[in-house]
């Protein structure tokens, strides 16, 4: 299909807009700013935890596979391209230098999850710990909760919509990372 034919359906291709993956995919190979990206990708890390593979059932006609295994699984359902994950593309130019400190990646925000995490971390660890609050529904309550317990709290949505660039920026400010779930984005932190 030609770009001109896809343009009419561009508003349906919303998956790659999340976290600015479409901008990374345009910028890295030097595509034009209005190049239509009819591509969907897994925004968490697909380590085989979801059948057949993560985020493949989307309206986008092409899946962005970032490993050979995902490529084979997604190809049974739709057209697939093999391209490294957007976070690796965004770090390809320059490897960030790590800062000092401990970053705890919080669970989906909410009173029960926040209290559960606080019980494990302990109130005494507030001085040297920063909590990353996920930018999900009502995350402002969680930000206030952690700040009320004297923890430093950061979120990806503090400067507009969250992006992979902002993830790299925040993570590079620390040299130790603590996580309580795996499926969302743990592996990215080791990349």
């Amino acid at each position: 299909m030609k770009q001109s034919a896809l343009r009419r359906f561009e508003r349906l291709y919303q998956n790659a807009r999340y976290f600015g993956a479409d901008r990374i995919l345009r910028r890295y190979p030097g595509l034009a700013g209005d190049y239509v990206i009819p591509v969907g990708l897994a925004h968490g890390v697909d380590f085989g935890q979801i059948r057949p593979c993560q985020d493949v059932i989307t309206v986008e006609p092409i899946h962005w596979a970032h490993s050979e295994r995902i490529y084979r699984a997604a190809l049974t359902m739709k057209a697939t391209v093999k391209i490294p994950h957007a976070v690796l593309l965004s770090m390809a130019k320059k490897q960030p230098e790590l800062g000092k400190g401990r970053l705890v990646v919080g669970p989906p925000p909410g009173p029960v999850n926040d209290h559960g995490l606080l019980d494990i971390l302990g109130r005494n660890s507030a001085a040297d710990t920063t909590i990353l609050v996920k930018p999900k529904a009502r995350f402002e309550h969680s930000l206030r909760f952690w700040e009320g317990k004297r923890f430093k709290a950061v979120t990806l949505a503090d400067r507009g919509p969250p992006t992979y660039g902002r993830i790299v920026e925040i993570f590079s400010g620390y040299d130790e990372i603590v996580d309580c779930t795996f499926s969302s984005a743990v592996a990215r932190r080791w990349a």
């Binding site: 299909m1 034919a5 896809l6 359906f9 349906l12 190979p29 591509v39 890390v45 380590f47 085989g48 935890q49 979801i50 059948r51 059932i57 989307t58 309206v59 006609p61 092409i62 490993s67 295994r69 359902m77 057209a79 697939t80 391209v81 093999k82 391209i83 490294p84 994950h85 690796l88 593309l89 390809a92 490897q95 790590l98 925000p109 009173p111 999850n113 926040d114 209290h115 559960g116 999900k136 529904a137 009502r138 309550h141 009320g148 993570f171 040299d175 130790e176 990372i177 603590v178 996580d179 309580c180 779930t181 795996f182 499926s183 743990v186 592996a187 990215r188 932190r189 080791w190 990349a191």
Partner: protein, 246 residues
């Protein structure tokens, strides 16, 4: 990035989901268990290497190659959208046009019965899961608790981690049919009931006795300030939701 990593193995995460998470996740997958296990027990170098592989560090970073593969995939497309509903040919094109016109991607993704089922959702799953333990040790009652709860619009929303409070009834719709000015205390909130009653009495008393306009306004301000303090002193995360299941 080479950071030191720690996984909290005792943490259970709570959320509402549309589907039964046990059906959705491949908890019995050896591949997933192996990868999660490697992250928990493996050394720093091994996990860094594994993470790189998961993200595609072995794939080509060549700009021309990436551009060519993307162009080729787009050239080969026969349809502008992917339909999981199994639509094909003219029907898929029609649904794609309709989806683009209405800006509703789900019209192309699902069949009409599927869409209706999604609209008439009766329940959601409340799940509490220790994800790391579930992948490494396998699913058990200790690491995954599922509960089917009624879907209440505005309260048990998929993706949320808590049941939301029932929105306060509109002014005049409650039995008492009043709401003190400047406050948002629901009439059925039991915790604040006594304070509300006190404030209500205080609000009413001078109103009966003092008929002049100025005194009337003063009574309003006093009642308002009392209730204002009550609301302000109630921390959001510690407030008790009377509608929450015990």
């Amino acid at each position: 990035m080479g950071m030191k990593v720690e996984l909290l193995r005792d943490f259970s995460c709570r959320a509402y989901e549309v589907t039964d998470i046990d059906d959705h996740f491949a908890f019995r997958s050896e591949l997933s268990a192996g990868i999660v296990g490697s992250f928990v027990t493996g050394g720093r170098e091994a996990t860094t290497q594994l993470a790189s592989q998961l993200l595609g560090s072995e794939l080509s970073f060549d700009r021309a190659e990436i551009r060519a593969s993307l162009d080729e995939a787009i050239d080969r497309l026969k349809e502008p959208v992917y339909s999981h509903a199994g639509y094909g040919g003219p029907m898929l094109r029609l649904m794609a046009e309709l989806a683009a016109f209405t800006n509703q991607p789900s019209l192309a993704r699902f069949t009409l019965p599927q869409l209706l089922r999604r609209r008439r959702r009766h329940y959601v799953y409340e799940h509490e899961m220790n994800e790391i333990a579930a992948f490494i040790e396998g699913v058990s009652e200790a690491n995954l608790r599922l509960k089917k709860v009624p879907y209440v619009p505005g309260q048990t929303l998929p993706g949320d981690t808590e049941r939301r409070r029932k929105p306060p009834p509109a002014r005049g719709s409650s039995r008492l049919g009043w709401r003190c000015p400047g406050t948002n205390i629901p009439p059925r909130c039991s915790v604040l009931k006594s304070r509300r009653r006190t404030a209500f009495k205080e609000w009413r008393r001078p109103r009966r006795v003092l008929k002049s306009g100025g005194a009337h306004a003063l009574a309003f301000i006093r009642a308002d300030s009392v209730l204002g303090e009550v609301v302000a002193s109630q921390p959001v995360e510690d407030a008790v939701d009377p509608d929450r299941d015990s």
